[in-house]
Amino acid sequence: MKNDELFGLLQVLYPDVSSTVAETGEIQWQVPTGIFLEVARTLKDDPRFAFDSLMCLSGLDLSKYPTAVKGEFVGELLACVYHLHSFEHGHEVCVSVTVPKDETASIPSVEPIWLVAGYFEREILDLYGIAFPGNHDPRRLMMPEDWIGHPLRKDYQYPSNYSTWELKREGQNFTSGPYA
């Protein structure tokens, strides 16, 4: 089934979802955080969708993403982008959930639905700081347990030392690029 047909079916069940199309042609279904868990369950269990495979779960920091207006950014938001795939029907879809970028950033965990999400969510917890209540093991994945900060955020401050190690040296600039 094509993407807009699927989206039509979903919108009948959950009128709050919306769909955006980017310049690249990618269609993203925007789902509010409150109903996300039910939407995810429907997408997996409903035989018309049958999305039994979560291909990829990425975090995204939208605070430096440009809007149509030049010089303006989207805002202090974090997003999680879920790419789903159905082995039965063969269709693929992209679902996005947006949360504000502060201490309350949290999205219900879809690990009970797609078991692979366990590690993906731990990685996003570690590198972006979004909490996933419902994940069976909410610890940092890549960084050491006592690391401070969430490295993949756009406003991440590189620490000058970690326990007894010096990480910065005088006169050395570790950051380059437009987001330094």
């Binding site: 980017a22 310049e23 690249t24 042609g25 990618e26 993203q28 039994d52 495979s53 979560l54 291909m55 990829c56 990425s58 975090g59 995204l60 920091d61 430096k64 993403y65 440009p66 982008v81 790419h83 082995f87 063969g90 992209c94 797609w114 078991l115 692979v116 366990g118 590690y119 093991d137 940092r140 994945l141 890549m142 960084m143 050491p144 347990e145 006592d146 490295p151 993949l152 326990s163 950051t175 380059s176 690029g177 437009p178 987001y179």
Partner: protein
């Protein structure tokens, strides 16, 4: 940093199959609680090889990131390069102004080298799996064959491990003189070499006794845990991106997709370690077929580098300065499974977000539920059969 895991039960001992271990195929730490032989819990700890490649990518221009993709999976560097380059080209192709037309010869060279690298990566994978079981010789026989492939790659692109050869728009330079004859000669002697390799280890009763029936992953579990590639096919799911979501010149190629089938004899179960091992060996056979077909259909080199039929690269530097805005997710079939790149572009010359989804990452996530109940020796067998490389996991 110290991670003290308290002993919860006096009858269990906690072993670290720690970062330094001959058989964890990289720096992986498995904290195993066992009563001596049977494992009760297993918690993998990763992050020892985390190099923040994704963050680096956000600070480099699109074409500057290609060498970093080599290091994401250095055993199959060509495929890793190809995954990223196809992702960027797919991004550029979404708008007609920035569309890229890869020359046919470049496409053929890409697929040829990707398949050769698939052979060498599988040789390392099955060789290391056999070595973990105590058979030191088959690994070396596999490495001998891999050396021939490395020599071919070295003559073409100068490197033996991290090639940085496939780039956005084609390949860095054309094949070296006499490459096609060399590759044909290599493929001809690879087939009897694989036959003798299999006669040595694959049909060995002891080896089958170690691998058959160990840690089976059922079809539903494999899909739920996001297994991809040979691990998924060994569990009975007939899914191969080269056939089902084809890219490059794969639509024109004929090859079979090996699927697991409880090949381990009376003790074999669908999706056990032996199936994963056999699927990789059968894929080598298929890759040989693909390489021969590609060599037959490759057009001769042309004068101009960007000739649409015989060229080897088109210039995309101007197009990469203003790519279309938005995200795109592309995936290719790497030896270790699907490598997916989720690229988000903000219209500038640097990526906004570069997410690498690798097969080994999800293969590792199944550990915590699969390992309890196995013996310590079987954990080693499992790691070997899943063919995990840690740089893919940690990035």
């Amino acid at each position: 940093m110290s991670h003290e895991i308290q002993e919860q039960n006096d009858d269990l001992i906690t072993i670290n199959m720690g970062p330094h271990h001959p058989s964890t195929h990289g720096v992986l730490r498995l904290v195993i609680q066992t009563d001596g032989e049977m494992v009760k819990t297993c918690k993998p700890e990763i992050g020892y090889l985390h190099r923040s490649i994704e963050k680096i990518g956000e600070n480099l221009e699109w074409y500057q990131f290609v060498p970093y993709t080599d290091r994401v999976d250095y055993v199959c560097s060509m495929n890793a390069n190809l995954a990223y380059c196809l992702g960027v080209e797919a991004l550029l192709n979404t708008k007609p102004e920035t569309a890229v037309e890869i020359p046919l010869r470049a496409d053929c060279i890409r697929v040829l080298f990707a398949e050769l690298n698939r052979i060498s990566s599988h040789l390392v994978g099955v060789g290391a799996a056999a070595m973990d079981m105590g058979a030191y010789t088959p690994f070396l026989h596999g490495i001998t064959q891999r050396e021939f492939i490395n020599d071919i790659f070295e003559k073409t692109c100068g490197a033996r491990l991290t090639y940085n050869y496939i780039c956005i728009g084609g390949v860095m330079r054309d094949l070296h003189q006499g490459a096609e004859a060399e590759i044909r000669a290599f493929l001809d002697q690879l087939e009897p070499a694989m036959h003798s390799f299999n006669a040595l280890i694959t049909t060995n009763t002891i080896f089958r006794g170690r691998y058959a029936g160990v840690a089976p992953i059922s079809r539903e579990k494999a899909i739920a845990y996001g297994m991809v590639g040979p691990n998924l096919r060994a569990s009975g799911v007939d899914w191969d991106l080269r056939r089902d979501r084809p890219y490059g010149i794969y639509p024109k190629l004929k090859f079979a997709v090996p699927v697991g089938g409880a090949y381990g004899g009376s003790k074999g179960v669908l999706g056990d370690c032996y199936d994963r091992y056999i699927v990789r060996l059968l894929e080598i056979v298929e890759s040989i077929k693909i390489c021969r077909q590609v060599l037959d259909m490759m057009p001769p080199p042309a004068e101009q580098a960007d000739d649409p039929v015989g060229g080897y690269r088109v210039d995309v530097t101007k197009k990469l300065r203003t790519p279309p805005k938005g995200g795109i997710y592309t995936r290719v079939e790497n030896p270790r499974g699907e490598t997916g790149y989720y690229l988000v572009s903000d219209g500038s010359k640097m990526p906004y977000r570069l997410k690498i989804r690798t097969g080994s990452f999800t293969s590792l996530s199944i550990f915590e539920t699969l390992v309890p109940g196995l013996m310590v020796s079987d954990v080693v067998a499992l790691i070997g059969s899943l063919d995990i490389v840690l740089p893919e996991v940690d990035r």
